[in-house]
Amino acid sequence: MTTADRSKRDSDLRFEREALPWLDDVYRFALSMTRDEADADDVVQETFLRAYRSWHTYAEGSDCRKWLFTICRNVFLRSRERERRKVDHGGDDAHLETMASVMMSVSLRQWGHEDLLSRLDLGPAIDRAVGELPEVFRDAVVLVDIEGMSYDAAASILGVPIGTIRSRLFRGRRLLQEMLINHARDAGLIPHAGAPCTGLA
């Protein structure tokens, strides 16, 4: 076996050991973006092909899952023939989104439904609501809230500043909460018209 053969064998073994175990995670992430199994299938295949071809650029010991998610995101964007969006939704809005969310908790308390989240079977409703979020907000929610990534890692994967991730994440969370409240209203768990909320306490 030549030196080149040995080097290739070692490289393939490392790819097998470090990259392939993340196939399920990459598939889940691809599915969250495409919302279509056949499209996710294509994105995952292309992601691993690109990852294999550029394996020499992967820094050993770094976060392989994050590296694969970044490739996956880029494959998805290319598959949609769309420019990567650089829209900054405004970091300063983030605090306002948090405040708006707190207002919801105030309203629920005023209605005597502060335990709503623990009473609802939220899994299916959240799944549906996440799927209905506009894409820029959905990506942030999936990466941080479902995949458990830091703002920094999510920003790196999506290629946007941390402030953008934060504002998209907070907007996405608030939209999700609105959808869940509507779900609870439709289910007759809370009234359709609540008293206007004017204060924090």
Partner: protein, 79 residues
């Protein structure tokens, strides 16, 4: 740090994305404030519910086979 400061930073706090000093200041405020704690409790329950939707969802075997076929075409000799 007053209630307004705390609720404005509640999600940053729950995400552990603040400085240690700020995390500690908010933690101390929440422990003592009856107005803010329910908001914290609501947001934490919400984020827990979202996180709980993560399923260990194996990629279908067909996808796995296609990935391996594609890699082998590209020269991958593992597995």
């Amino acid at each position: 740090m007053d209630c307004l400061d705390v609720v404005r930073q509640l999600w940053d706090y729950l995400d552990g994305e603040l400085t240690d000093d700020r995390m500690e200041a908010i933690r101390a405020h929440l422990a003592a404030c009856r107005n803010c704690y329910p908001h914290y409790d609501f947001e934490r329950a919400f984020l827990d519910a979202v996180a709980a939707t993560r399923r260990e969802q194996p990629a279908p075997n067909m996808v796995r086979r296609k990935v391996m076929a594609k890699l082998r075409q590209a020269g991958f000799a593992g597995m």
